[in-house]
């Protein structure tokens, strides 16, 4: 196979993804994540919008992890009875 060493611009098509294929994938992403919002069920929703919403969702989740970690840090540092409360709270879920 010649041209293996050069940058594979003309590869078998697996690395070059067309607009349609991206749209298909994004629609699939939308189906996999219904929590992104049911208001986007319409057909006209663009791939860019879904991707944007996904990015925002991930950023929000990261921020939530930050906030919760801070509160956990305060709570766990306070006393040793926190250990018992820890176990207790998770056993009563």
């Amino acid at each position: 196979m010649s041209g293996r060493r050069s940058r594979p611009r003309q590869s078998s098509g697996t690395t070059r993804i067309s607009e349609d294929q991206i749209n298909d994938l994004v629609i699939k992403l939308q189906q996999l994540l219904p929590e992104l919002g049911d208001s986007h069920r319409s057909d006209k929703v663009s791939a860019a919008r879904v991707l944007q919403d996904t990015c925002n969702y991930i950023r929000n989740l990261h921020r939530e992890v930050d906030d919760i970690s801070e509160r956990l840090s305060e709570l766990l540092a306070n006393s040793d009875t926190a250990q018992a409360a820890l176990i207790r709270s998770l056993l009563t879920q």
Partner: protein, 153 residues
Amino acid sequence: MASADKPINTDVPEKDVFALHFLQSLSNLRRQNAFNSPDDTTNNRVKKIKKAAYVSMARAAGGTNRLWSRALLRRAAKENNKVVIFSRRKKRVTWLRRSNRRDPVDAERLRNLLPGGGAMETSKLMEETAHYIKCLSMQVKVMQCLVDGLSAK
């Protein structure tokens, strides 16, 4: 390849799997006296808890089966100066990154947010993103339960 209709599996383990892993990480931290040492600043404590959260999530949800969890665990091990050995899978070559530049800007942003996203194919990126978001939501729920349980006296 892109038109293959394989069913994508983005199932996520039950909540208690996440809880168990997170508890284990927390108790490890406690054993290292991360919570009681007076010279440890609050920021360090928060950072340790955050790291424990991400690592335990990666272990609970994906282990070595998911690209994002592998990237997370690898990153965490690098911070600890540990050597991580993963079983050799099909290695994603770096030139893949260059050909992915044809993606729209938003896909690029998504790549930056997802651990290990820079080297994934676009189709894999979508699947990994969905799984990552589900696991992250579960982890947040577990941590919130913990906070509620600890603060309700």
